[in-house]
């Protein structure tokens, strides 16, 4: 380098150079000269700087000796570069790259220090470094396995907390081909190969006892596969939970078909024992009359020896008895610590008791102290409420069966009665009326007026009784002459019924308007009977009240039932009689055109036989009778 002292041009360049330049004496390291940029950066006056040793403005940690070392190195090798973090005049930290060059100036050996500020670059580097560190920390702590595979199938990266469950150290797989590492797991090798062929893969993979959900994503660089990145998540617990919920849902379905308490107990204890790792599950049924719970089912290896019969009943005064009556699911931390256990010789330790409403109790336990986690409790409480519902249903069904049997018995009794009514009861009745007749025809001339009147009463009484016997028979025939239900068009039945009543309708000047009728599943004859009875009632009561009968009939379908409506403009039903009128022989001065008061009872019996119901409403405009019959299922057509 030329002399700086001689040429004004060089001096000017030296003076205006934006980067700081400092000239040192090669032997002492002292500053010989500096440009304004240097003075500004270092916070010295230029004159002040001359003679100062480089050590004075070296960053902290650099001694004068270190500085001399650098100067000497620059002298001997001709050039030396160092990066410094320094404080500027304002005290801010700035990074500079200092290049020390040996130079001969004015025949003296100097070392010229060229400063170049690299603060921005260093800051960027620093930020990148910190981000990388952060990312590494993040990845290392993610509860998954993160990995990359190069195009040859070799692991280039493996990290994540998920590695722990596989017993692997971070980075352990790096450098190992996936085909070797997972030679025993063909489905993993397959997935990796698919990804290496450029297709994204998302699979559930079993590795030993564990289940992983893994995502392989191929990355491309200019259309060429550059690597496959992968994330693998341990879903073993999730799977287990799923399986438990499935088992629970299967059990719920099974419980729908359980026919007895014992069958419910078998299913419930079996499932409780299966979905939890608890050796003991047992169920008790509550006997209210003795205030005692009796075992009805148990599952688990621990109960094989003694079975449910070996379990103790839970009587008053015991802790379990108290838990049952509390109605709340209760955890017994250690059965052996109970003051009043129902079972005295048992290895049982931790126990969860779930009262099943008034039906009984379900208990799940283990022979070791093992607290129940919230997941277990949640599943068991669902199971318990399902069990309680199943027991409810079993109880209802049992009652229903008993009721049905009773109903069948009473039906048989009714048929028997009907036979008696039709035969044995008629016989003496016939005697009465026949012989009163005979008396009249043979001795009528000899009787006075009063005797004739008595006889008329006797005849009338016998006739009325005959009508009642006939009515009873009609009532009983609702069952005995019932036919199978079939898809029926009520519109046709209405037309037939109106035809049959045509003369009577014309006679009283009645008008009937019939609407539309959804198809029903019914005994068409009996539907006709109901309609005829209701129409006859409507006609008669309106007519008797002195109005021209106006009757509306229609029907609407809702919730699988068709509701029929027959309304008239008659006097209506007296207050409080709307229910009485359906009772056998009860006319209550109301609404039953059948002389014996059995017409509406027959209607009710027919409707009930169809699982429908019949009721009456009334206001000042008339009476409305409504009844429901099952709608014909979709697709079934009228024949």
């Amino acid at each position: 380098m030329a002399s700086t002292g001689e040429s004004p041009l060089y001096r000017d360049i030296f003076e205006v150079a934006p980067d700081p330049i400092v000239v040192h004496d090669a032997d002492t390291g002292a500053v010989v000269n500096s440009n304004p940029a240097a003075a500004e950066l270092l916070g010295f006056d230029r004159a002040e700087l001359v003679g100062t040793h480089v050590g004075a403005f070296s960053p902290p940690g650099y001694t004068t000796e270190d500085a001399n070392e650098l100067i000497r190195a620059a002298v001997s090798s001709g050039s030396k570069t160092v990066e410094w973090a320094i404080r500027d005049a304002d005290g801010d930290k700035r990074w500079v790259e200092v290049t020390l060059k040996r130079a001969e100036i004015d025949d003296r050996t100097r070392v010229v220090a060229f400063f170049h500020e690299i603060t921005d670059r260093k800051d960027r580097e620093q930020a990148r470094l910190e981000r990388n560190e952060q990312l590494t920390t993040l990845i290392d702590n993610l509860p998954v396995v993160v990995f990359t595979i190069d195009p040859d199938g070799v692991f280039t990266h493996s990290a994540g907390k998920g590695l722990e469950s596989l017993g692997l150290e971070p980075g352990e797989l790096e450098g190992v081909p996936v085909f070797e590492a997972y030679a025993d797991y063909p489905h993993i090798v397959d997935a990796a190969e698919t990804a290496l062929n450029g297709d994204e893969v998302r699979v559930t993979q079993e590795v030993g006892e564990l289940v992983f959900e893994t995502w392989y994503r191929p990355l491309f660089d200019d259309g060429e596969l550059s690597q496959v990145v992968g994330v693998s998540r341990d879903i073993t617990d999730l799977k287990r939970r799923e399986e438990r919920v499935e088992a629970l849902s299967d059990a719920t379905n099974e419980l729908l078909y359980s026919r007895s308490e014992e069958a419910v107990a078998e299913t419930v204890t079996g499932i409780a024992q299966r979905i939890l790792d608890r050796p003991l599950a047992a169920m008790w049924s509550y006997d209210g009359s003795e205030d005692t719970l009796y075992p009805i089912g148990a599952a688990g290896p621990a109960t094989d020896a003694d079975g449910p019969a070996g379990l103790s009943p839970i009587g008053p005064g015991t802790d379990e008895h108290r838990i049952f009556h509390s109605g709340d699911p209760t955890v017994v931390e250690d059965y052996q610590e109970l003051a009043n256990p129902s079972a005295t010789e048992t290895q049982l330790r931790t126990l969860l008791c779930l009262p099943l409403d008034e039906h009984g109790m379900l208990c799940i336990g283990s022979t070791a102290i093992a607290p129940f986690d919230s997941d277990e409790r949640f599943l068991l409480e669902i199971l318990a409420s399902t069990a309680a519902a199943a027991l409810d249903r079993v109880e209802r069904e049992t009652k229903l069966k008993a009721k049905q049997a009773e109903l069948e018995r009473s039906n048989e009794a009714l048929q028997q009665f009907a036979y008696i009514a039709s035969h044995d009861l008629q016989e003496p009745l016939r005697m009465v009326s026949s012989y009163v007749d005979l008396l009249d025809s043979e001795y009528g001339d000899e009787l006075d007026e009063e005797a004739a009147e008595y006889m008329a009463y006797a005849v009338d009484g016998a006739n009325r009784m005959q009508e009642m016997v006939d009515a009873l028979l009609r009532y009983s025939r609702v069952e005995t002459q019932a036919r199978e239900f079939e898809p029926t068009d009520p519109g046709a039945v209405v037309s037939e019924t109106l035809d049959a009543l045509r003369m009577r309708l014309d006679e009283v000047g009645a008008t009937v308007s019939a609407g539309s009728f959804p198809a029903v599943r019914a005994d068409p004859n009996q539907l006709g009977q109901v309609l005829q009875n209701l129409l006859e009632n409507a006609i008669q009561y309106a007519d008797e009240a002195g109005v021209e009968p106006r009757i509306d009939i229609d029907a609407t379908e809702a919730d699988g039932m068709v509701e029929f409506r027959v309304s008239d403009n008659g006097p209506g039903i007296p207050d409080g009689k709307a229910e009485d009128i359906f009772e056998i022989f009860k006319r209550g001065g109301a609404h039953d055109a059948d002389g014996t008061g059995i017409g509406l009872a027959v209607c009710q019996r027919i409707v009930q036989r169809h699982d429908g119901r019949i009721w009456a409403e009334s206001d000042e405009t008339g009476a409305t009778f409504r009844f429901t019959l099952p709608a014909a299922p979709e697709g079934e057509t009228d024949e």
Binding site: A418, Y419, M431, S434, Y435, S441, A462
Partner: protein, 148 residues
């Protein structure tokens, strides 16, 4: 009296346990116009003995018509029907079931046992006279009966 028949009286056997009904039948037949001999038995066992001319009925005539009540002690009407109709000799005797029962099962069973007719006894006497009159008219006059 039928013109096509010989003028002998027709033999009618009434199997009926109710004396009231027996009397009514007698009265009704009196009002009719067919000359008849009415024989009465009170249960099925006696009816079979009469038909087979057994015991005290050894000289009983073979009836032209049997009026049969269903509800009788010892042996009921259905049993009489079943036995008669499986007897080659007796099966040709016309049987009219005359009963208070209008029960479908009784009607069906009677025809299953080959009853020739099934009639329900009317409640009043006039009705009874009418129905016995119809029996006389149809079974003793209109119908060609088998030879005795």
């Amino acid at each position: 009296m039928s013109e096509t028949e010989t003028s002998r009286a027709v033999e009618i056997l009434l199997a009926e346990d109710n004396p009231g009904d027996v009397k009514l039948t007698e009265k009704a037949l009196e009002k009719g116009n067919v000359l008849n001999n009415l024989h009465v038995v009170n249960d099925g066992v006696e009816a079979m003995a009469f038909l087979r001319q057994e015991g005290e009925y050894d000289s009983a005539p073979r009836p032209d018509l049997l009026l049969l009540d269903l509800n009788m002690p010892r042996m009921d009407g259905q049993e009489v029907l079943a036995e008669m109709k499986s007897d080659e000799d007796l099966r040709r005797i016309p049987v009219v079931v005359l009963t208070s029962s209008a029960a479908e099962e009784d009607i069906v069973e009677s025809y299953d046992h080959h009853a020739n007719a099934y009639l329900t006894k009317p409640v009043d006497f006039d009705g009874f006279v009418d129905i016995v009159g119809s029996i006389e008219e149809f079974w003793l006059s209109v119908v060609k009966r088998p030879p005795r």
